[in-house]
Amino acid sequence: MTVYVIRRLIAVIPVMLVVATVSFVLIRLAPGDPASVIAGPYASADDIARMQRALGLDQPLPVQLVKWWGRLAQGDLGDSIFLRRPVVEAIRERLEPTLLLTAWSMLVAVLVGIPVGVISARHHNTVLDQSFMALALLGLSVPNFLLGLLMILCFGVWLGWLPVAGYAALETGLWPNLRSLIMPALALGLVQSALIARITRSSMLDVLREQYILSGRSKGLSERTVIYKHALKNAIIPTLTVIGITFALLVGGAVVIETVFNIPGLGRLIISAVLRRDYPVVQGVVLLIAVTYTAINLLVDLAYLAIDPRIRFR
């Protein structure tokens, strides 16, 4: 087990090197450059060239790449071109909203998705099941930004219950913080819950056809025990994998939702960095997301171990 974890952790290093290099090259392959953005629309070509020199962007790409590797080896992600601070600090400032948003969305996705999946499977082919699945299909088809805008219109503008946009930091209190995250978390989480519901339902249906369920029922176990103790525990493995994937989708969704709801998180950071070609920030955030995703995958693999004793890693 320990050996397995260590081996997995070592394997992360080459992955990170590849991610670091690819993100460096890709963002520079994109046309456009930060100097013309800073200089503004009425600047002349000389002004832009002067700014490129000031930013060190006139150096050959391989030189810049080697510098980036060198800094990375020392754990330094460089400085943002636009934000006048180190990338690490820019990321640290944005972690709170994104972490909270992702956590709340995940909670919404799991708390809605799994029960809906289980209930649908239990009442297979009934009206309840079909209406749940129709809703889930709708949920998968509605883009989260649209859901977000509709919610803003409904709860923010018409009913006035929730702030239309913006983020209240945790330090301003738990309730204001929660209020500012309810709509974005629902917009993001509900869409993901549809995926979780469908996967849970189909894997529950598979499990419910197994013979041990039949034997459980025939030895007189209550339906509750059969469903929640025996069936769900076995059916949850594929759902767990999906929850891991959901995390990645949530990070992607956060990019959009944070822009719609004006939340100053990592999503906004990367979107504005890409639009303005803030190279160091894009590289830093991509690297961070890659690290997180790798870590989540590892955790999911370890969770299998806890849930299903038949699984052994070597």
Binding site: V37, A45, N262
Partner: protein, 512 residues
């Protein structure tokens, strides 16, 4: 005309009492929803409009503009011109404090002007004619020119990319780079910038305002009524509008004009039209490719019918104006129709010109962006009109950052979309500069622009502008599609706010 002026006077007298009952109030936090984040906080460093909109509450310039966009003193007290227009002796106002408590003197003004002359686009254009800037005594700055200049004061007063005065210590700390601290003399001082959250400014209690009354433009007394201003980046237009509707923001900029009627019907909101704001332009590439041929450019201009183009670009008729002049009717000193052959709607002439030019269907690469929908929408309609006249158009939609980079590379395009905002000085207008993308360089025009820079006589300048305008249409320097106005929304409790081409919030206050 006189009768009109009289009517305007009566009207203004009628409306004044209503405003007068409304006494300004100190206090409150103004929340302004802006379209995005400024790329820098250094005015010398960038021409981006949003930087000026935010930071000129913090920084001030020696001069600014009155309501007719003519230069008036701001940090300067007065000036004297000598030596046949070659020496400007500027007297500074006394007891003007920087936000760090230090008094502003010529020791700060001279290095600020020198940095601006070296770094900013406008400054560099002017500084070609500047021999030296010196501090004669703590309150006197002398600018020695190589030749007389009709543009110097306009340039020193420009809000965009403006000649902001910084303490010399800030400039020393910045070195060759961007400013590291943001200290000015303005009515509001910089507090913090939390990217994607807000830029916070607070009232500067020791602000030394001018004693002359506000003049309806940008000059005169500036008062900071708000305790704080929060400039909040809200990239989504629907959210900006929803936020101002629910009262989360007091001001939302850049709202689509088709929302105008709805906003008008809402009792809590006040529609604000910024008129004039700018013109929508298609800039042909004079340096390379198919548009380098004058006949092809003339065919391009001949093919266009501006009404459908502007209608597609802007929508609401109250937000655009079909006018071909290089300057706005509101700039009476410069506006004329001399030499204008705008909106020709003549595909037959266009076809003939293309035949004369020997055009063989080479694709015209037009680069545009959807980030400003009016650019894309206007290009789309223009493309159809060009195709009807025999052009082959390859419309390439890019993101804005790519567009501003590519337009500097003559081999990559034939036309690009952009907008020109209000400029006060004709000789410094980006629309007629030769060293700007599109590279419209024309011997006679360059001579006239150089003369205009020197000319101090208003009548002679007007004649030069008229001639430049005629060349603009004959040579098809750029293609002006039309004037557009922007739509901003404020809440009713925001009082004293004036929609102007250069946004500002001093002298405005929050009622209740």
């Amino acid at each position: 005309m006189k009768r009109l002026a009289l009517a305007a006077l009566v009207l203004s007298l009628l409306t004044v009492p209503a405003l007068a009952q409304d006494t300004p109030r100190m206090g409150g936090v103004l929340k302004a929803a802006m379209i995005g984040e400024p790329p820098s906080l250094d005015l010398h460093w960038t021409t981006a409009v949003i930087v000026q909109q935010i930071m000129w509450h913090v920084y001030e310039t020696l001069y600014t503009y009155d309501k007719n966009l003519q230069p008036v003193p701001m940090l300067a007290e007065s000036h004297a011109v000598a030596d046949g227009g070659r020496r400007y002796t500027i007297t500074l106002r006394k007891n003007v404090k920087f936000h760090n408590g230090k008094e502003m003197t010529s020791a700060d003004v001279v290095p600020s002007l020198q940095r601006w002359g070296k770094m900013s686009t406008t400054g560099k254009a002017l500084w070609k004619g500047v021999e030296a800037v010196e501090a004669k005594d703590p309150y006197t700055v002398v600018i020695h020119l190589k030749e007389p200049s009709g543009s110097l004061l306009f340039g020193l007063g420009s809000p965009n990319n403006g000649a902001a005065i910084h303490p010399k210590e800030s400039l020393a700390a910045a070195g060759e780079g961007q400013l590291k601290e943001f200290i000015g003399t303005g009515p509001y001082r910089f507090v913090e910038h939390k990217p994607d959250r807000h830029i916070k400014l607070a009232r500067f209690n020791e602000y030394s305002a001018r004693s002359d009354a506000p003049d309806g433009g940008y000059g005169g007394k500036r008062v900071a009524y708000f305790d704080e201003i929060l400039f909040i980046p809200v990239p989504d237009e629907a959210v900006r509008l929803a936020g101002v509707e629910t009262g989360e923001y007091h001001y939302a900029q850049s709202i689509k004009s088709d929302q105008h009627d709805r906003v008008k019907s809402l009792p809590a909101l006040e529609p604000q039209v910024v008129k004039p704001y700018g013109w929508i332009t298609a800039v042909p590439n004079h340096k390379q490719g198919v548009m380098a041929n004058k006949k092809v450019r003339q065919a391009f201009l001949a093919a266009l019918d501006m009404e459908p183009i502007m209608s597609a670009a802007i929508g609401n008729k109250a937000f655009y104006r079909l006018d071909g002049a290089l300057f706005f009717p509101e700039q009476a000193a410069f506006h004329s129709q001399a030499g204008v052959s705008y909106s020709q709607r003549n595909p037959v002439r266009a076809k003939a010109l293309l035949a004369e030019a020997g055009y063989k269907g080479e694709p015209v690469r037009w680069i545009t962006t959807k980030e400003y929908d009016w650019m894309y929408n206007s290009a789309l309609v223009a493309k159809q009109q060009m195709e009807a006249a025999g052009f082959v158009v390859d419309l390439q939609v890019l993101d804005w950052a790519t567009l501003v980079q590519r337009r500097n590379k003559p081999e990559l395009y034939d036309i690009f979309s952009t907008g020109f905002t209000v400029g006060a000085d004709p000789a410094l207008a980006t629309s007629i500069q030769c060293n700007w993308p599109g590279w419209w360089c024309n011997e006679e025009k360059e001579r006239l622009v150089a003369e205009m820079l020197r000319e101090t006589d208003a009548k002679k300048r007007k004649a030069q502008i008229d001639r430049v305008q005629a060349i603009f249409y004959d040579d098809v320097g750029r293609v002006k599609l039309g004037d557009y106005f922007t739509f901003q929304v404020t809440r009713k409790e925001l009082r004293g706010f004036r929609p102007q081409p250069f946004l500002y919030f001093w002298n405005a206050w929050l009622a209740k």
